[in-house]
């Protein structure tokens, strides 16, 4: 597996900002909300889990049994591992999925608004056997849970 500097591969932030600030934004077909959430480069490009967590500005996450992670115990193909994540913590606003042993551990960060249940199903890549960690944000508190998934064929 070759590490490659991907610093040039991010959204043109300045362009996004200018659009969001301009009156043009109102006329664009793109929802302004998409522009407001700028991609968290520091967190997504972090190569260790603690760095990724730091990038998410998580301070002191508490282990919780109110987070459900449904993932296979054993995944044959690490390129496609289906995970279902659900938070039963009241006031859940956001949910991040991390794979500890991936070259870049942060997989995704989901932010839920009014009327959306704090629950998603998606498919992720796993480089090797690792914990799949979920961090939930509820107000200014953070909660976490993890599930070990054994991987036989690397998916990174």
């Amino acid at each position: 597996m070759n590490e490659q500097d991907s610093s040039k591969q991010h959204l043109p932030r300045r362009g996004f900002l200018q659009l969001a600030l301009g009156a043009v934004a109102a006329l664009m077909w793109m929802p302004v909300s998409a522009l407001a959430a700028l991609w968290n480069k520091a967190a997504f490009e972090a190569t260790t889990q603690p760095e990724a967590v730091k990038g998410l500005q998580v301070a002191g996450e508490t282990p919780s049994s109110e987070i459900d992670i449904v993932a296979p115990d054993f995944a044959e193909n690490g390129a496609v591992v289906q995970v279902e994540v659900k938070s039963r913590i009241p006031g859940t606003e956001a949910m991040a999925i991390l794979v500890e042993k991936n070259p870049t551990p942060l997989i995704a960060n989901f932010m839920f608004s009014d009327g959306a249940e704090p629950s998603v199903v998606t498919r992720i890549k796993m480089a090797e056997t690792s914990n799949v960690q979920v961090i939930v944000k509820a107000g200014d508190r953070y909660f976490t849970a993890a599930k070990m998934v054994e991987v036989s064929l690397s998916g990174c």
Binding site: L11, P12, M30, F44, F110, F112
Partner: protein, 104 residues
């Protein structure tokens, strides 16, 4: 534009929205048959709205599988309501899909 398959079904008061987006999701680490590194090309932002109101916003890294699959759930959607999903990737490409909520 890249293809997106969507379904939104209301059952027992909860609407299950499923989406399958056609996208390579290249990490920037993979080598092709000629041993050349394939540049990173992946979706970074995904937004979902219900009748124009934002319900879900996601930031993705390279760890989401090729041809991303996503399911999420809405509490107060009704049959006929419109769900729209929009994505943006690191190359400035974007795509959008919309579907009306149906009864299961």
């Amino acid at each position: 534009m890249r293809d997106m398959k969507m379904r939104a079904q209301l059952k027992a008061g909860v609407t299950e929205v499923k989406a399958l987006i056609s996208h390579p999701m290249e990490t920037g680490r993979r080598k092709n048959a000629l041993d050349e590194t394939v540049p990173a090309h992946f979706i970074q932002l995904v937004t979902a709205t219900l009748n124009g109101r934002k319900v879900l916003e996601a930031q993705w890294g390279t760890g989401i599988s090729k041809n991303p699959y996503l399911t999420f759930y809405l509490n107060d959607a009704r049959v006929g309501d419109k769900v729209v999903i929009t994505w943006h990737d690191n190359n400035g490409e974007s795509g959008t899909g919309e579907i009306a909520v149906t009864a299961a």
